[in-house]
Point group: C2
Chain length 212, copies 2
DNA sequence: TAGATTGTTAATCGATTAACAATC
DNA sequence: TAGATTGTTAATCGATTAACAATC
């Protein structure tokens, strides 16, 4: 494997490049240059070039990259090409919205089923996906070999759910709950933390108004 | 104002501190130390101390911080204490889930109304909030003085919606669409980008399995 | 050949960490 | 006084940027 160890910053920018490359077909030239991408996304061109170098080796001086080739390389690197199974715990409004979201398959995520402790939800279906009782969780995860768990329960239950997921063999947790999760070494917690985003928004407004 | 210019990294950690401080009431001592927080959250204690120093001046050697005081200072700094109005564009599944989410008020966000171009949604209500036609957007924003816009439309429409929001006086955009948004100087775009999160999750799993 | 573009090596910048002084 | 803790100043580390060499 040549594609190991990319910095987190780089990894966060790669999806934006892919997005741009896939983007509006107008002016679909066969080749793209790092400079073009950088300009469109408001980044430094050397950053883009360096990022792309860690993903692709198809860039050629004077020519640039072949768009379609670069797209494929990015998709492969980001794991969008082979789907990963996931389970979701907490089938409330947000959970159901995620279960129904049709965009995940194209990012290589396949939510197998939802789980909820509320017996009234048991057996219900969202977008063709079953909502199951919590006691079914370990069995399914083990059997199918699921490694991604999505947490959309209220904050106060998040840690308990997280522990159950890890007991069931989950290696990466996507946490939508507003709680800090403690996990053993080797488990990744990716926080989709609304509170952080809101803090950044609010801080921006504060700055805008304080300099006026 | 003493509380200007905190680094982005710091700003992203502050909500986690607040969360921890508010957290499970067990062992609610009156005082907390930076070391305690750092340990609980898996951070370096100097980082925590430095972050807190930029928000609070109530830390006392040997004693630490008064928990309740620190909570109030963090809430104030993060703008969670005085609510900001927001509009949401794109009242699909995700949009409705956000409109219905009851946790936002405690983070100082108040979604006034949803907007959608689909006439069938016009007039509908979600959690007591109206869904309105797009042509009502500028009027409402101007009249009430809304500065935050939330975008939950499909990626291909995101830029057009973003432009409309900015025309309506929006200064900060919370973007859930999978699209890069170009905005004029002085406007903040905060991306809640699922694609980025998924890339990080997938990369983690790749690393786990490649080192085995 | 000349120009555009890639990719690499060195310089700069900012954030984190380490060491230490101040203080209750 | 001694110990714990804050907060500051200096050292380290990593990422970004700048300069340049390689190449089609």
């Amino acid at each position: 494997m040549s594609d190991r160890c990319v910095s987190k910053q780089t990894l966060q920018r790669l999806p934006a490049y892919l997005n741009y490359l896939r983007g509006p077909g107008k002016g679909l030239k066969k080749h793209v240059s790092a400079t073009m991408i950088a300009e469109a996304l408001g980044l430094n061109d050397v950053v883009v070039r360096k990022d792309l170098a860690s993903v692709s080796s198809s860039g050629r001086p004077k020519v640039g990259y072949v768009r379609s080739e670069l797209i494929r390389e990015l998709e492969k690197f980001l794991g969008y090409d082979n789907s990963q199974d996931a389970v979701l715990v907490g089938a409330g409004k947000l959970g159901q919205a995620l279960m129904a979201y049709s965009g995940f398959p194209q990012y290589g995520l396949n939510i197998l089923a939802g789980f909820d402790s509320d017996p009234r939800l048991e057996g219900a279906e969202v977008a063709g996906k079953k909502i199951l009782a919590m006691d079914k969780l370990p069995g399914l995860c083990r059997r199918v070999g699921v490694h991604i768990g999505i947490i959309t329960v209220p904050g106060e239950h998040a840690q308990a759910v997280c522990d159950q997921l890890i007991d069931s063999g989950i290696l990466a947790v996507w946490n939508f709950a507003n709680a800090h999760l403690s996990v053993p070494e080797g488990i990744l917690v990716q926080n989709e933390n609304m509170a952080v985003s809101l803090a950044l928004l609010s801080n921006h407004l504060k700055e805008v108004f304080s300099t006026k």
